[in-house]
Amino acid sequence: MSSTAYFFQQFINALSLGSIYALVTIGLAMVFSILRLINFAHGDLMMIGSYAILMLFNAGLPVWTAILAGVAISGITGIIMERLCYRPLRGSAEMNTLLTSFAVVVLLENGAVLFFGPNTQPFGILNFIQPTLAVGSLLISKIDAITVVLTLAILILTALFIKKTTLGISMRAVADDLTASQLVGIPLNRVIVSAFFIGSLFAGLAGLLWSARAGKIFPLMGFIPVVKAFVAAVIGGFGSIPGAVIGGYVLGFAEVFFVALLPPDFQGYRDAFVFVLLIIILLVRPQGILGAKAMERRI
């Protein structure tokens, strides 16, 4: 394998990993920008979406129906989560809502252990599109290709939604100035519920892609992606949706090339490196690498 081919192969790895991070991060950032809530339970929506898809598929639904229904279940779970756990806490200290989201994680993960059992389960429902695509000496797994294309499509749709629709503009307005947006008559609950719903849909979809790549699901699967998405959100300037996307890709690339370029003895330090990066960004560029001036006052 030539070094250029090697580089491109790693590039594709990073692109597809970054795409999933971006999908997860958008939901996290959307909710954060509106509520200043870091929702750790966001990752568990990936888990719930994946389990729902698998169960519906096992119950005999056609693949695509199962996927649509499963992703929808993830979205609805997000709405329920907001209604039961976060709405009663609206306006209380940031730390309290953060801790609440931790408690929700404990609740959902142990609930899943109880309900689905602790064991890893194979997730092969997309296996019929498994084979790889050979481009020259490059091998692209089709699931990667789908991930990248699907993510791009969603990103474009999201951008249009945020830019053009009243609801999208409302979300930005609420993120900008909560008080003023109430004064002009933006229905706050509807905007918050929408943000949770959309974010949770994306989480469900990311769960599908994540599980399809890994080929398995387990009750605790949501935690690592949400922590990573967290870092991605910080890289992009917490709360900014374009930033979330860029942060997701930057993190994907950083992780892949960290492992690719460093000797094995240091590969284990990957996550430490990721978090050192996070702390440095928080300190030096708290507005994220996008650096929009408007983000600064968030800190």
Binding site: A173, T179, Q182, L183, V184, G185
Partner: protein, 235 residues
Amino acid sequence: MILQVTDLEVFYGNIQALHGISFNVEEGETVTIIGSNGAGKSTTLLTIAGLLKPGKGEIKYLGTSTKTLPADRIVRRGISLCPEGRRIFSSLTVYENLIMGAVQRRDRKKIRADVKWVLSLFPDLNSRLDQAGGTLSGGQQQMLAIGRSLMSRPKLLILDEPSLGLAPVLVNQIFNVIATLKNDGTTVLLVEQNARRALEIADRGYVIETGRITMEGSSTFLKSNDQVKSAYLGG
């Protein structure tokens, strides 16, 4: 009577900000509330707008109570508060800011017509529709804020310190717009530190001090009152 406030009491935690104030606004009137900093003017307005919940008292709008309604429902009923400090959406464009003012409305065609109308009131904004709100000058931001409030087509427009921190030329411009609105028949509740200008334009006025209404009457009466003169009109 479009707005009737009775014995309103508001608390911030344990601190009482309003000690039972009462006032009313008739349809088509322009009413001003004057008072010094911290007297409770903004608190009163935010309570009417539904952002603060009253401890005691009643707020009646067109005969029905609004004190338990959320802010967005109050806007839909026809009250629009243009807040102190403008609070425009700085990362949204001027056009988007205006659209947000009409977020409760569904009549797209009329909204577009109203954007034109607001732009005719504030021609300065015309060339900046795609500019981010945060990049506007202070005066333009104030115009945008008023314009945004007008976009909900309110029956009662509440303006909180619209002239604060503006150059005299701009103050004139703002008050001219208020006069236009008044002539068009909009009911306006105006809170101002610039009491002289406020009393010039208003039909009636109230004086608020440390959370209580201490004086009320027609603008002419207040303008000629010695206490008002010495405290708010610079002797």
